[in-house]
Amino acid sequence: MPEIVAINGAKPGTDWLFAEDDEVVAPDRPAVFSLSRWLEAGGRGDAGLLRGVRLDPADDPALLTGRLDGVAMVALHFPDLNEGRPYSQARFLRAELGFGGEIRARGAVLADQLLFMARCGFDVFELAPGVDRQVALSALSAFDIAYQPALAAGNGDTLYNRLRAGRGA
């Protein structure tokens, strides 16, 4: 089990199965599917089932437009620490699709990226092996201000708006 850090009240307690595309999944098992499997299956979850979708960096999150009903979490994958696309995916899910469920970072998730991720809308972090939980938590609080309007999970954070009301830009 990887070490998991959650913020903004996210509750990442579920024991998710990250299902392969050809894997048989018991209907009541909380499972995370690839984008293509999710769309092939109609892009809807049945009431009462816990379902998640995972995106690779090249996947287009716009394909989830109207396909997030019954999705409790979206997992975004960082193949390495220089990967930048999931930041844009997360922001799109929050800002454009209004997704209010869990957005989870997986893969090369190191302490020093967490704050950027959080500000793009991630709220759950599966830390890469060897990353210390305390270090991760303190990295998350390295800054309490920012120049940009950023998205905290679920709500349009207006820190920037408040600040710019009284300052330059």
């Binding site: 190191l110 120049y147 349009g156």
Partner: protein, 549 residues
């Protein structure tokens, strides 16, 4: 100049605290080099050939005398007593110790300077026309917009892991002095018929192994939409830019692969979603930022300019300097003084701490305590009363800072090359020095006239050799340094990529080759033609014949 408020100071001090912690974790082994490298790069720290290197931003080329003094202090306390001005309005320290860098950054923060995003795959220092706010041909002052962009781009959560580095330059004048055509995004401020401010946006320019002149993405972007539009461009790039091959990862490759039309359509789609978001700039936002860049309290022109006129008549050295190094100011009675960092026997763009302090004093005594940094590795004293030029000239001469070679052949741009840079394939500074030595006759240099000569130590082209009238690129040929020569490049409004004229030459043959090129030019020249115009008229044949005779 922009003054930090409590918010800016707090953000920067949190950034330094974060970096201090990252360095400590690196030294204790909690972070390995692979994890640390992208973190240190985002704070301007390279591991170079001989040592670490710290690159400090000089946003849009603006420096106060207080800041320049602090750079001098840092050079002495933590480095070897000098700094190197780069081609992107940065200063580089070549010998800092990693353990000292957090302290250096803290001292810089006290004078409102930083190294954030001066390297790494993120939005780099925002550069601008070094004559911003003082040029006679200005449409609007680019500095408030540069500062708005600087703040927006600083620690941008979505764009801190781009496919590759990203450079933005802004020009507010009729004539481009910011090389906007060779930036990832080039911005030119314009006014429409209604007199409103807007931006002509160029995209996909850049040098390196695939030199490209930027293409127009939008003719006139309304002022209020600056940030939302930049955000849209960056988002398209972040999403679609290639990440599989570092040589194909710049935005210019994406623009070329998609075609400018398809790229523009993607940006447009993204922008429509963003246009009315919190990024929209209101008139009050812009006014507040403009208030940071007031016009200084200029004095009325002094009518008694007899000393100046007498000296121009009687002292040819002063006359030459006044002709070459002093530019017209938009304020009557003032001049703009170029301070050349291309001195004979000195590395291009280098300045010692004692010289920095002396120049800081001159900036205060002869101006409003301000210094500008140009992308040709020179400095500027922006607001000098004309009647004080004679005494300023004497002081600069005593400091070896009055070399009247602005825009001439010996005003060479040279990157650090293999003397310092870990990526280099050959040296650049010694070649620049050898050429400058060969062309040390000022009369001859002035006869030759306008000519740009740039030398890069590898294909990364930091010295912009491919947009110089004469470009020199050092390459490695089976363990030997050899130099390719290109002709016909230009970086201004008539931007063009230079063409190679033939096989590469060994270092010792380069000065003679340049001499041959100059002789060919003088033989072909009509009237007072500039080198570039002669080249465009006659082509490269006469030059090839001299070099490869």
């Amino acid at each position: 100049m922009y003054r930090y408020d409590e918010f800016d100071h707090r953000l920067l001090s949190q950034r330094i605290g974060q970096f201090r912690d990252q360095v400590a974790r690196r030294l204790s082994g909690q972070l390995d080099e692979d994890a640390f490298r992208p973190l240190r790069l985002r704070n301007g720290v390279y591991l170079q050939l001989n040592a670490y290197m710290l690159r400090v931003n000089i946003p849009y080329g603006l420096l106060s005398s207080r800041q320049l003094r602090r750079l001098a202090d840092i050079a002495e306390r933590y480095d070897r007593g000098y700094g190197h001005f780069s081609t992107r309005q940065n200063i580089q320290f070549n010998w800092p110790r990693l353990v000292d860098i957090p302290d250096m950054l803290a001292e810089l923060a006290e004078v409102e300077m930083h190294a954030m995003q001066s390297s790494g795959n993120c939005i780099r220092n925002i550069t601008a026309d070094h004559l911003a706010g003082i040029a006679a041909d200005e449409v609007a002052d680019p500095r408030p917009y540069c500062e708005i962009i600087r703040q927006w781009s600083t620690l941008h959560p979505e764009f801190s892991f781009l496919p590759r580095k990203f450079k933005i330059a802004v020009s507010g004048a009729a004539r481009d002095r910011a090389a906007v055509h060779v930036h990832d995004i080039g911005i030119r401020i314009r006014r429409n018929e209604a007199g409103e401010i807007g931006f002509h946006i160029l995209v996909g320019g850049g040098l390196g192994r695939t030199p490209v002149i930027g293409k127009t993405l939008r003719e006139f972007l309304p002022e209020a939409d600056l940030l939302s539009y930049l955000e849209a461009v960056l988002r398209v790039y972040n999403r679609y830019g290639r990440r599989d091959n570092k040589y194909k990862a710049r935005i210019k490759i994406l623009v070329n692969d998609l075609g400018i039309g398809a790229f523009a359509a993607l940006v447009e789609e993204e922008w429509q979603r963003l246009r009315h978001s919190a990024l929209r700039l209101g008139p009050a936002d812009i006014e507040r930022m403009k208030a940071h860049f007031p016009r200084p309290d200029y004095l009325p022109p002094v009518n008694d300019t007899s000393e100046y006129e007498a000296l121009r008549r009687d002292d040819p050295a002063f006359d030459r300097w006044a002709e070459n190094a002093v530019f017209s100011h938009r304020q009557p009675g003032y001049g703009i003084v170029m301070v050349s960092l291309k001195r004979s026997g000195r590395p291009t763009g280098d300045m010692r701490a004692d010289e920095m302090r002396a120049l800081a004093r001159l900036a205060e005594e002869y101006g409003f305590g301000e210094i500008r940094v140009t992308h040709r590795q020179n400095l500027v004293l922006p607001d000098v009363p004309l009647h004080r030029l004679p005494s300023l000239w004497r002081e600069l001469t005593a400091l070896d800072l009055a070399m009247p070679n602005h825009g001439l052949l010996s005003d060479i741009i040279a990157c650090p090359g293999m003397d310092y840079c870990a990526l280099a394939t050959a040296r650049s500074i010694p070649v620049a020095q050898a050429i400058a030595e060969r062309f040390d006759d000022l009369d001859y240099l002035h006869d030759i006239g306008d000519l740009s000569l740039n030398i890069s130590g590898c294909i990364n082209s930091c010295a912009h050799h491919n947009v110089a009238n004469i470009g020199i690129l050092g390459v490695d040929k089976r363990g030997q340094e050899v130099y390719q020569i290109t002709l016909g490049g230009s970086s201004g409004d008539d931007a063009a990529i230079g063409k190679r004229i033939g096989p590469a030459l060994p270092a010792e043959d380069v000065p003679a080759a340049i001499e041959g090129i100059v002789e060919a030019f003088l033989a072909e020249r009509e009237g007072d033609e500039r080198f570039i115009d002669t080249y465009r008229r006659v082509g490269d044949q006469p030059f090839k014949e001299r070099v490869y005779a």
